[in-house]
């Protein structure tokens, strides 16, 4: 492009004036700076951030309700009357910190109350007591009115999004997996969500059904918007209008026009395996099925490809966390996150399902097992040996760097 060799002379306001303008630039700059205010200023958008996405919320139990023989609802309010609860989208969860025998662990619990309730000062979470769960056992015995609980802000992506989802939501729930649908139903009723909800709710016994009366009331008052179909796996059923067996494609087809729905699934691990298989019969687009996370894998050795020779082994993990370097034992069949918690290292965690990445850590050496389905790591993290301890299982001794929790 240099064929034009003639000297090019730029003139904007005149040769001399342009050079003078350059010469005077710094004095002009100083004058503008001198003229400015000397008062400190705040960063107002941070207020919106703090209200929507606080890093932590200090909550206290204000009410406890027994829902079934094995389920309780805990109403949580802000510990300080000056700090408002974060607003959320129906279907989101809170990651609650529980200290059991001096060990800090977290658990994600879907919020069962409506987003508008949070503006009126409370969240509700509904917990089902697991038969062999040491954590729910602890909660049953220790959570009383007045108990203080540290929580995350609202988290998770299991919510209705009008730009993506059909306005007929079909919920498929099992056990305490009904909780997000309770919040979604309330949001539909109070107009926060403009959609229709049909829930297929699987329970093993009649007295295991959570929110039976509540949903009956919703159905009666808003018959065009809310419908629930109870599917009971027990032999004898006394409640009216229930289905017997499991949530099959056949049953779903009898109640809804599959083509015009978005399916939202939330329940125990085994339910997903069954329901997903049933849904494949409809040949649905990927976008029509949304799954809530269910926490850590219950029985890692049952996962195909899990190297069976690791069963029963204990490995050693060299952990760098903050300024501490320490060595901890880790069972092959337990997530690295659990090993870190057991060693009282208080690692960060939220979803415990491999998805949110909050526990992202560096794997300096050693091998881990991650179920491909739960491997929600960024591609560069996989490439460069970063991992999510909540969905990773040691296959050898490890050396890792873990961030401290906020």
């Amino acid at each position: 492009m240099n064929e034009n060799e003639k000297e090019f002379n730029l003139s904007i306001k005149g040769n001399i004036r342009d050079l003078l303008a350059f010469k005077n630039l710094i004095s002009k700059r100083s004058k503008l700076i001198q003229k400015a205010s000397n008062l400190p200023k705040g960063d107002p958008i941070k207020n919106l951030s703090r209200t929507l996405h606080p890093q932590k919320q200090s909550l206290v139990i204000s009410e406890i309700r027994e829902e079934t023989k094995s389920t309780k609802t805990y109403r949580l309010i802000s510990e300080s009357e000056h700090i408002k609860l974060a607003y959320f989208r129906a279907g989101q969860y809170l990651s609650l910190k529980v200290q059991v025998n001096g060990i800090d662990i977290t658990r994600p619990y879907s919020i069962s109350s409506s987003p508008l309730d949070s503006l009126h000062g409370f969240y509700e979470i509904t917990i089902k007591k697991a038969e062999d769960g040491f954590l729910t056992q602890y909660i049953w015995e220790n959570w009383k009115i007045g108990t203080k609980i540290e929580s995350s802000g609202p988290e998770g992506n299991f919510y209705f999004e009008p730009l993506r989802d059909s306005n007929h939501i079909v919920g498929i729930a099992g056990g305490s997996g009904i909780t997000p649908f309770s919040s979604i139903a309330k949001s539909i009723i109070n107009g926060t969500i403009n959609a229709k909800l049909t829930v297929f709710y699987g329970s093993s016994e009649e007295d295991d059904i959570i929110f039976y009366d509540k949903f009956k009331e919703f159905e009666n008052n808003f018959p065009n918007q809310i419908k629930i179909i109870h599917v009971l796996s027990c032999e004898e059923i006394s409640l009216e209008g229930c289905e017997q067996g499991f949530i099959t494609a056949e049953k779903i087809k009898n109640y809804v026009d599959v083509e015009e729905c978005s399916f939202f699934i939330c329940g125990p691990q085994i339910m997903y395996e069954f329901v997903e298989k049933e849904l494949t019969r409809f040949n649905l687009q990927h976008k029509k099925i949304r799954k809530e996370l269910f926490g850590e894998i219950k029985n890692i050795v049952s996962i195909p490809n899990y190297p069976k020779e690791s069963i029963g082994k204990t490995f050693s993990i060299e952990v760098e966390i903050g300024s501490l370097i320490t060595e901890i034992p880790a069972l092959a069949t337990e997530s690295v996150l659990t090993a870190l918690e057991r060693a009282k290292l208080a690692p960060p965690s939220k979803c415990r399902s491999g998805s949110c990445g909050f526990c992202r850590s560096a794997l300096i050496s050693g091998d881990i097992f991650v179920r491909p389905l739960d491997d929600k790591r960024r591609s560069a993290d996989i490439l460069r040996n970063y991992f999510h301890p909540c969905s990773s299982y040691p296959l050898s001794n490890l050396k890792i760097v873990v961030p401290r929790a906020p």
Binding site: D18, S37, P40, Y87, L119, P406
Partner: protein, 516 residues
């Protein structure tokens, strides 16, 4: 403040693991300096990040990286990554600059703007006849400006006046002026100027204010070295830098906010973090902006001189971004999306569009990318993804009621998707499998940037990179403090932020080795 107890001692503390902070930390660690990098978020990168939703991994913010360059014509970023830091990061070349669509009925434009000096001139001259000569002068001037910048860098900020006056006179003359002023003086036809202006949204102020020198320097790099994109998103180089820092003995601490920079008699003596740790140090490199430093971090407050407040208050924070990330269940080809980068405007009046950033009305502009058109396997077969970005001025989102926030996000996202569909005459709404929406609030939360601003301070001629560099030594108010990132003297953009990291590291190193 005597007798303070510290938990640890470091040569240098770096605040923020954004582009600048990561590079600064990596460079210092390589030099054997004992360095610790604090980041409030749980990830490296700041704006340079990615996230996973369902089957898709979305890029957080980058549209294209300027001045990376091909193997045989390495730009500053490629030299920084490959030669200086020995990073292995895979990049792909972006074939053309962008497709510009102006939907203004009175002045419609639809043109694919190419890279390459000659192709660029030819493409514009075709739609704006008579542009060739003035554009050649524009390029000549841009070339001189780039020569001058190289000279200024090589002279380490001590250029010889004679050389500047003799070789780079036109450069000097361009420095006090806006893009419009110089382009008018060059007699570039109006239509050609409109096409030339389309990068203004990468800097964020209208063309009657944005400094010509800054603009044309960036533009010239794009034309001569094309644009590049990291194959595994920007999170890849952020993570590569994180690993490099550790490998070289540096330390990275996430979920940790530096809450106080402890200052005594105008000199840094340490920092205090949100974890309560106190680190002894005399040197801090801040990826956080001067606004945040002087308003929040310097402790005690009495150590902040009046002039420091004036220094930050004289400047305006540039626009913040609003982005919609779409995972689509059809391929780009099936949907009719053929280009990588789209700049779609309701109007080419940059002042008018800029003013609209002050409202929550339907956006008048979007910069949209479809990664599948440069990285074909970046999503599963028969899917694709889009990142649509528009802009807001600081303050617009401050008073949004949390209760209305989610609906407002969806509404603006709907507007952006609709105008994209209209501009391309295609339909994508039924194909949305995943959607995520980021607002200025999101950016503020993840990066800590003041008001969620993505583009540093506005680059008016008086506060463009040249006057900033010229005044740099007079505008240091705390001994031991260097600034890197989008608010540094280099000015905004990925490229400048990355380079500023290295410059701040070298300036710090000089002082350490100077034996102060």
């Amino acid at each position: 403040m005597n007798g303070q107890e510290f938990n640890d001692v470091y040569d240098v503390v770096i605040i923020g693991a954004g582009n600048g902070g990561l590079i600064a930390a990596a460079q210092l660690a390589i030099e054997g300096i004992k360095v610790i990098l604090f980041e409030q978020h749980n990830l490296p990168g700041g704006f340079a990040t990615s996230f996973v939703r369902g089957r898709f991994e979305f890029e957080g913010t980058l549209h294209e990286l300027c001045d990376y360059g091909p193997e045989d014509n390495k730009g500053s970023i490629r030299r920084l990554f490959e030669n200086d830091l020995d990073l292995q990061v895979e990049f792909v070349e972006i074939p053309e600059a962008f497709r510009l669509i102006c939907t203004d009925k009175n002045d419609p434009i639809d043109i694919v703007v190419p890279f390459g000096l000659e192709d660029f001139v030819t493409a514009i001259d075709t739609v704006a006849v008579g542009s060739k000569e003035p554009l050649l002068n524009y390029l000549k001037l841009s070339e001189e400006i780039n020569g001058a910048i190289t000279y200024l860098t090589e002279s380490k900020g001590n250029p010889e006046k004679d050389i500047l006056l003799k070789k780079y006179k036109n450069f000097l003359k361009s420095v006090p002026y806006s893009l419009d002023e110089v382009n008018n003086a060059l007699k570039i036809p109006e239509k050609a100027q409109k096409i030339l202006d389309a990068y203004w949204i990468y800097i964020g102020i209208p063309t009657n204010r944005v400094n010509f020198t800054f603009y044309s320097a960036m533009h010239y790099y794009f034309l001569t070295r094309k644009a590049y994109f990291p194959k595994y998103r920007t999170h890849d180089f952020s993570t590569a830098l994180e690993s490099k820092i550790r490998e070289k003995g540096g330390k990275v601490e996430y979920n940790t906010r530096v809450e106080k920079i402890l200052v005594e008699d105008g000199k840094i003596i340490g920092v205090q973090t949100s974890k309560g740790d106190k680190i002894q140090t005399n040197r801090v490199i801040s990826n956080a902006s001067p606004t945040i430093l002087y308003n929040d971090l310097i402790y005690p407050k009495e150590e902040v001189p009046d002039i420091a407040y004036k220094f930050v208050n004289a400047r305006k924070h540039a626009i913040s971004c609003f982005s919609v990330y779409l995972g689509l269940n059809a391929s780009a080809e099936q949907l009719g999306i053929r280009n990588y980068s789209y700049h779609i405007f309701d109007s080419m009046d940059t002042e008018k569009v800029y003013t609209s950033f002050n409202t929550l009305n339907p956006p008048m502009v979007q910069a949209t990318t479809c990664l599948n058109n440069i990285i074909h396997d970046c999503t599963p077969p028969n899917t694709s993804m889009l990142m649509m970005t528009t802009f807001f001025l600081p303050g617009v989102w401050d008073n949004v009621n949390p209760k209305d926030y989610f609906n407002l996000k969806s509404k603006i996202a709907y507007n952006l998707i609709s105008s994209f569909e209209k501009a391309l005459n295609i339909s994508i709404k039924d194909n949305i499998e995943e959607i995520e929406i980021a607002t200025p609030q999101t950016l503020s939360r993840y990066t800590g940037a003041y008001q969620g601003s993505a583009y540093g301070y506005e680059s008016d001629p008086w506060d463009s990179f040249i006057p900033r560099l010229m005044a740099m030594n007079d505008e240091k108010f705390i001994d031991g403090l260097e600034i890197c990132g989008g608010y540094s003297s280099q000015g905004v953009s990925y490229t400048n932020s990355l380079i500023s990291g290295q410059i701040s590291a070298f300036l710090t190193l000089q002082k350490i080795r100077g034996g102060e």
